[in-house]
């Protein structure tokens, strides 16, 4: 990237000028440092709090005897983090297993074939994004109550699908639109049937888009808070809501919440780092069109 802080070239490099370059560099580095502190200090602090013994939690100390006790406690019978982790995993896994194949097929159909009402359909799913999700939850809440589905992972999966499928279609359709149709034609001429074209030609080419959509849906479902807050009570509670169990009568068990939190965010952070580049691309080009 170019130096945005431009130094007029007509001026001759004299001592004064060199000095100002130095100052600009120092200023820049301090700004970068401030940004790093602002963005990463909170994460760093959560991370070290997770390893702090009870006695050190309420101090600002960085040097302490690290302990794994907090992790042991949160997975113990009192908090049962394992159960909530399983709930979250089930909800995310089933949601993704339905969302991704269904959305990829639909994107392919919408991208390659003439379908009456196609534009209207794409506009309608975009328009639903303006309506706050809580409007979605209200009728579901009353229906699940009637059907006895409140506090089940099935209920959470159903509500999550309404959130993830529209996103996944928009994200993958943008990618599939950009794949040239020639290769599919060529494969057809060579005698491949439609399913072979889909499996051997389209899927490998659309992989970056599919990965982006998967990670995006993974992150929003994993971190999904409102549905879980409304629909679950005890049995189907997922991780974001489980964090509130560390807020008790006598205050908050910060070290244990931090330990649970670190284990909670680990999967999304890792996945996000793996597909960072495609993700930004997908959000900027495929997301808004």
């Amino acid at each position: 990237m170019n130096e945005v802080v431009a130094i007029p070239q007509k001026q001759k490099t004299n001592i004064k000028n060199e000095n100002s370059i130095k100052w600009v560099a120092v200023l820049e580095i301090s700004c970068v440092l401030l940004i790093v502190i602002f963005l990463f200090l909170p994460i760093f602090w959560i991370a070290i709090t997770a390893f702090k013994p009870e006695s050190e939690v309420y101090t600002a100390s960085i040097f302490f005897q690290a302990t794994l006790d907090n992790f042991r406690t949160v997975f113990g019978s009192a908090f049962n983090l394992g159960k909530y982790y399983t709930n979250s995993l089930i909800v995310v896994a089933v949601t993704l297993l339905i969302t991704i194949p269904v959305s990829v097929l639909a994107s392919y159909g919408l991208s390659r074939f003439h379908i009456p009402g196609k534009q209207l359909f794409m506009f309608a799913i975009l328009a639903t994004q303006f309506i706050p999700l809580i409007v979605n939850v209200i009728p579901f809440f009353t229906m699940f109550r009637d059907w006895g589905l409140l506090d089940t992972t099935l209920a959470l999966i159903i509500v999550n699908l309404g959130h993830t499928i529209p996103y996944a279609i928009w994200l993958t359709k943008g990618f599939i639109d950009r794949i040239p149709i020639d290769m599919e034609e060529a494969a057809k001429i060579d005698g491949a049937n439609r399913f072979q074209v889909l499996w051997h030609i389209l899927l490998p080419l659309a992989r970056p888009g599919i990965i982006t959509a998967t990670v995006f849906c993974f992150v929003i479902t994993w971190n999904e808070f409102m549905f879980s807050l409304v629909i679950t009570q005890q049995d189907a509670v997922t991780l974001p809501i489980a964090l509130s169990f560390f807020v008790g009568e006598e205050g908050v068990l910060w070290n244990q919440m931090a330990a649970a939190g670190i284990i909670f965010v680990l999967p999304t952070v890792i996945f996000m780092l793996l597909v960072r580049k495609q993700f930004i691309l997908g959000m900027t080009s495929g997301g808004v069109k």
Partner: protein, 292 residues
């Protein structure tokens, strides 16, 4: 014939699922919004009352309070995030090794759960042992006695800071990809002409970023108007009702007071507010001649 079956076979599952999980509940809640329905007293929907729930909102002082909170919160968050993320992007988009490492990990805050961040902010703003509280008190001694989540202004500021923190990395990355895709000749030319760095920013960089700025404003506005998780985990609308943004007010009406009809109506009002903002941006977007 076979072709027709194939193409409808492709989209049918998605269409059915979206119809069942999105279109249907949205229409159903619009229908609910036209009824009086107190879930505490009756499991069945009450009498049809037309648009009374919508009219009711206009004379509800709590509604106006939350509209005010929402607008203050959303406007400050969007403006702050955009300015800061352009600034961050300009700083981080230079061709230096250590910056490329930083760009690689910049997405991490965005992947973190907003609920966890909300709780953590509460922890770090605690007046007795919070890290942020200590740092602020050290840097600005007059502020050392402030109970951050205890007064309406500071609680709102804290809420804004959380949401800015959550979105800054993602928005910065959008601008970074925009800046790094720009032809470097333009900046060379500006330099040759003796433009100062500030002038280059105003006359070259920002106009070229305009399409991304518009997309970012639309996305940020949509996200902030719907903000929920950090409000619940950090301030719970308090102190009083000073940080009770609309989405939280809707939740409270629906799932604490179980006034389903009114809650649905409020949801649609929030949708309308969002659409008005997006239309304003879209018109700007269409007007902008550098947009294809």
């Amino acid at each position: 014939m076979n072709q027709k079956l194939f193409k409808f076979g492709l989209i049918a599952p998605a269409f059915i699922l979206i119809a069942a999980t999105t279109f249907y509940p949205l229409m159903k809640s619009f229908w609910i919004s036209l009824h009086d329905w107190d879930l505490k007293t009756s499991a069945e929907m009450g009498p049809f009352i037309g648009f009374d729930n919508y009219i009711r909102a206009f004379s509800d002082s709590q509604f106006w309070n939350s509209v005010k909170a929402t607008l203050i919160f959303a406007a400050s968050t969007v403006v702050l995030t955009l300015i800061l993320s352009i600034f961050v992007a300009i700083l981080l988009s230079k061709d230096k090794k250590y910056l490329s490492y930083l760009r690689a990990v910049l997405i991490i805050p965005f992947a973190m759960s907003p609920a966890l961040i909300g709780y953590s902010w509460r922890f770090m703003l605690n007046p007795d042992y919070g890290l942020f509280d200590k740092i602020i008190g050290f840097l600005f001694p007059p502020l050392s006695d402030v109970v951050w989540l205890g007064t309406s202004t500071t609680a709102m500021a804290a809420l804004i800071s959380v949401v800015v923190w959550i979105w800054l990395p993602f928005m910065s990355l959008m601008f970074i990809s925009g800046l790094m895709g720009m032809p470097s000749e333009v900046f060379e030319a500006a330099k040759m002409d003796g433009a100062s760095s500030f002038k280059t920013l105003i006359h070259v960089t920002l106009p070229m970023l305009k399409p991304i700025i518009l997309i970012a404003s639309i996305l940020m506005t949509m996200f902030t108007l719907k903000a929920f998780d950090p409000v619940v985990t950090m301030t719970r609308g308090g102190p009083g009702d000073s940080t009770e943004v609309l989405n939280f007010f809707i939740y409270k009406t629906g799932f604490r007071y179980f006034d389903m009809g009114y809650s649905s109506a409020l949801g649609y009002i929030l949708a309308l507010i969002t659409i008005v903002f997006v239309i304003i941006y879209m018109r700007k977007l269409v007007k902008g001649d550098d947009w294809n």
